[in-house]
């Protein structure tokens, strides 16, 4: 048995410690957000946050995660009460098939928690590890920009040093 802190709740998990987090989230904890895309850390469909950093859950064994704070897209908000970033994805209609989107949201969330005023170039750089095949990239970038602007103005954080492109 292992205790994992997932979305602010301690969950007891009975799985081999070598099991990648992705399978524990999907199968043991019945969370759908993180997706199997490659199992190789190449596409980002499985992206979640661990202690505020975006990680590939498909290659991160749970043995490394005891006592760490794990956040999945389910931990941000719900369809009825979405988080600012989820709302921005809805507002921009930033999905086609949507399979990559939960991973996109988690990688963007990690950026916005670290830097409330990212430049457009910083957003692109942050999103580099995540693949989208439908070609929703422009909308994903707009959604992250929109959320950054909304969250940045809400928190009245000082402007970042890098100019927007």
């Amino acid at each position: 048995m292992m205790a994992l802190d997932v979305n602010g709740t301690t969950r007891q998990v009975d799985a081999d410690p070598d099991t990648p987090l992705l399978y524990v989230l999907r199968n043991d904890l019945a969370l759908n957000g993180a997706k199997f895309g490659c199992g190789l850390g190449q596409c980002g469909a499985c992206t979640v946050m661990v202690d505020g950093n975006a990680v590939f859950s498909c290659v991160t064994p749970i043995s490394l995660l005891e006592g760490r704070r794990i956040t999945t897209v389910e931990g941000l908000g719900t369809a009825e009460n979405p988080s600012p970033l989820q709302q921005a994805f809805i507002d921009e209609q930033a999905a086609q098939c949507g399979y990559c989107i939960a991973g996109m949201i988690m990688r963007a969330q990690a950026l916005l928690e670290r830097n409330a005023r990212p430049s457009d170039a910083e957003i692109r750089r942050q999103m580099q590890p995540n693949l989208c095949r439908c070609g929703t990239h422009m909308r994903i970038l707009r959604a992250v920009r929109r959320a950054a602007d909304a969250m940045g103005s809400a928190s009245a954080a000082p402007a970042g040093g890098e100019a927007r492109l």
Partner: protein, 747 residues
């Protein structure tokens, strides 16, 4: 509202003829005068969409006693947003709120058989059917209300899920349907609402599926968790055509959670309680398997020679004009396209349950009914004992491994009665075994007269098949692996005017002498099938690259040169719109190392019109093509959801900008060697264009033309044309990868 179009029917006139199927009927959307005319059946049928094959109204729309509306489509949501557009059509014509309509997608036990969700046909076929069915149901309900209220139907109107009388009396749809049946055939004519009355059709309502997708709701077959469900993984051969000669299962059996090895000829799978246990067991089973390898694939370096050597069926698909007598110059070009991949982000997945001699498969197939036929043949079960239920998967962009994994899951589930079996392919299996988009060769020759007029055009295209969908079990990968294997039928070309390998091979331009020849290669050296837009991607790349080459030879502006030969006013309108919104200036270079490129096509020469202008910046040092700006114009008839059309078109542009700049499947004589995103790179965020604008030329009075496949070909050619403009070098081989661009520039 114009009174002449008010519903003024009794139930008797609506239902008169009872069992009659299709009565003569014709209706261009909103062309209401025409609706009153009795048209010939030949003219009438296509405009009814799938309602002509499934005329019973309750095949499409049902209303329960609470007035809740359920719409049934035989099509599948593939990420293209079709669910939302179909619900919009139904809600507006039925005069009910958007949120009150539930939608059931393809299910062999519940919906009409609409074949495949493919070829950008969903709006034309299912959209048109649901639209008309909704309209007819509203008129029937109004007629029933008139009987009860003792008024003429013409005095009544439908609103908010009820029929209202002028005196304020109101009967809800639920009350109206109580004890009555909508199991009646559609009758002509449908009387759609006039365009000005639509409140939902034509607006960019938010997609109904997106909230669940951004919050971790159950959205995909990958998310399906059934009670008692187990996980299976397939051990595929190490090379194409390899034979399983020895098997030691002890390693797999030692994995915790191991349940069963399933072997049937060369088909090999393992089942475990949990997913990661199944993956471990798969690895252990693969280690215990001995295969006799085969070298069944051609040599990659000679693939285009191989394609030309293979026997092909030659068909002249266009021959016009008496021959060129006044050629001043002749231009020739040959274009090449490698094999390319669908590359779904989510590897294909299916869940199957076998119990009481019946099988249910949950699948992201594009064709629930065809898959049912294939699976029932594979398992040698009667089709009525097999049910296929569509659930979304990751975007497929054509015939990927969705059907194959459905067959895999069925084979394994039969060995695990009573337990739902979930199978998902691994990334390297998806890359290694999915049917590819065919490599292709095109050759063009064009003639200009002394004044630079285009007077002659010949064009040849060689391609392997672009559709090897099931079909039967002979088109399923596991069907070839099992002990008593199935053989595929000999592939057939998709006939013109849609075409397969020759899709869009005929230029839409008016040229006095034209000869176009399709060379269909029935043999399949490497498994191929439908990849979004089929041959149109390559043919439009070729035709539109060649138009640019001819324009340059004629010393004409490429946009003006195209306009000389375009007669269709809708084609001209999208070209003009894209050029104007882009700010196209003849002969103007955007800056050093930069160029502008233009391309146009009408998809299949009978569907949506798309024109695209691209600005490209070529890094001569690295050969990398940056795309600062892309502007597109599309006309796909009546725009039901304009933002949905923009989303699909942007997607097509971005996907094709990846195909065109980066993508080429690599292979050895034994196997596909592009097995992951490292060995098959696709566009990442650093390569995303600076901006993409999509302008819709809306045609509220015109039928749906489909949207999803219009942009791929024009994007490819516009990029190549912009690169030629930027560098002065014409690249005719796809992809325009950094390596190839560098080589072309002689760097």
């Amino acid at each position: 509202m114009n009174a002449q179009f008010q519903p003024n029917l009794t139930r008797r006139t609506l239902l008169g003829g009872g069992g009659a199927l299709v009565v003569s009927f014709s209706l261009r959307p909103f062309a209401r005068a025409a609706a009153q005319e009795v048209q010939s059946e030949a003219e009438a049928l296509p405009e009814w969409g799938s309602l002509k094959d499934n005329p019973m109204l309750d095949s499409w729309i049902r209303i329960d006693a609470e007035g809740k509306v359920t719409v049934f489509t035989g099509k599948a949501e593939l990420g293209q947003g079709i669910k939302t557009a179909l619900v919009q059509l139904a809600a507006d014509e039925l005069s009910v709120p958007l949120g009150s309509v539930a939608l059931v997608t393809a299910d062999t036990a519940r919906t009409a058989d609409e074949g495949y969700t493919a070829a950008s046909h969903s709006m034309e076929e299912s959209g048109t059917a649901i639209w008309h069915a909704a309209s007819q149901v509203r008129h029937i309900l109004t007629g029933w209300a008139a009987e009860r209220l003792g008024t003429g139907a013409g005095e009544l109107r439908a609103e908010g899920g009820a029929v209202l009388a002028p005196d304020g009396r109101r009967i809800g749809y639920g009350e109206l349907v109580a004890g009555r049946s909508l199991h009646v055939a559609a009758a002509a004519p449908s009387r759609l609402k006039p365009v000005g009355e639509y409140k939902i059709i034509g607006t960019s309502v938010a997609r109904i599926d997106i909230p669940a997708k951004v919050t971790g709701g159950v959205a995909y077959v990958q998310d399906l968790r059934l009670p008692g469900m187990v996980h299976a993984r397939i051990v595929r051969p190490p090379s194409r055509g390899a034979r399983l000669t020895g098997l030691d299962t002890r390693g797999a059996e030692a994995i915790p959670g191991f349940l069963k090895v399933v072997r049937n000829g060369n088909f090999l799978a393992v089942v475990a309680e949990r997913e990661f246990q199944a993956i471990r067991a798969m690895q252990a089973l693969a280690a215990g398997a001995t295969w006799q390898r085969a070298a069944a694939l051609p040599n990659e370096d000679e693939i285009f020679e191989v394609l030309r050597r293979l026997q092909s069926e030659e068909r002249v698909i266009k021959a016009e004009g008496g021959g060129v007598t006044n050629a001043a110059q002749t231009i020739e070009a040959r274009y090449l396209r490698p094999y390319q991949m669908h590359g779904s982000i989510g590897p294909s997945c299916a869940v199957a349950l076998y119990e009481n001699d019946a099988l249910t498969v949950w699948s992201h197939t594009q064709g629930a009914f065809p898959l049912r036929a294939a699976v029932s043949e594979l398992l040698r079960m009667p089709p009525e004992k097999v049910r296929v239920i569509h659930m979304e998967g990751a975007g497929c962009y054509g015939h990927n491994a969705a059907d194959d994994v459905g067959g895999d899951a069925a084979l394994v589930a039969r060995e695990m009665p009573g337990r739902p079996v979930r199978v998902q392919w691994m990334r390297e299996q998806e890359h290694g075994w999915e049917p590819l988009g065919s490599a292709m060769i095109t050759e063009a020759s064009g003639q200009l007269d002394a004044d630079g007029n285009l007077v002659g055009w010949t064009y040849d295209v060689w391609s392997c098949p672009h559709s090897t969908r099931p079909g039967g079990a002979g088109w399923l990968l596991p069907g070839w692996e099992i002990e008593s294997p199935f053989q595929p039928d000999r592939p057939k070309p998709i006939p013109q005017p849609a075409g397969g390998g020759d899709r869009n091979a005929i230029p839409l331009y008016r040229i006095p002498n034209v000869r176009v020849v399709d060379h269909f290669i029935p043999e399949i050296p490497i498994r191929t099938s439908a990849l979004r837009s089929l041959g149109a991607y390559m043919n439009v790349f070729s035709v539109e690259s060649f138009m640019d080459e001819l324009a340059r030879a004629a010393k004409a502006d490429p946009v003006a040169f195209r306009m000389r030969y375009l007669e269709d006013p809708r084609a001209r309108a999208v070209v003009e719109t894209a050029a104007e919104k882009f700010g196209w200036k003849p002969g103007e270079k955007p800056g050093p190392g930069r160029g502008q490129g233009f391309a146009f096509a009408r998809y299949k020469n009978l569907a949506c019109y798309v024109a695209i202008a691209v600005e490209a910046e070529v890094d001569a040092g690295t050969g990398y093509i940056h795309l600062p700006r892309i502007v597109a114009a599309i006309d796909s008839g009546l725009a039901v959801n304009p933002d949905g059309i923009r989303n699909q078109t942007e997607g097509g542009i971005l996907q094709a900008s990846s195909w065109t700049r980066f993508e080429e499947v690599r292979f050895s004589t034994e196997e596909i060697t592009s097995r992951d995103w490292g060995s098959y790179p696709i566009m990442r965020f650093e390569s995303v264009p600076g901006s993409v604008e999509v302008h819709i030329v809306n045609r509220p009075d015109q039928p749906f033309l489909g949207t999803g496949e219009g942009a791929q070909g024009p994007t490819a050619a516009a990029i190549a044309n912009a690169v030629a403009d930027a560098t002065g070098v014409r690249i005719r081989t796809l992809p325009l990868s950094p390596k190839r661009v560098k080589a072309a520039l002689g760097v």
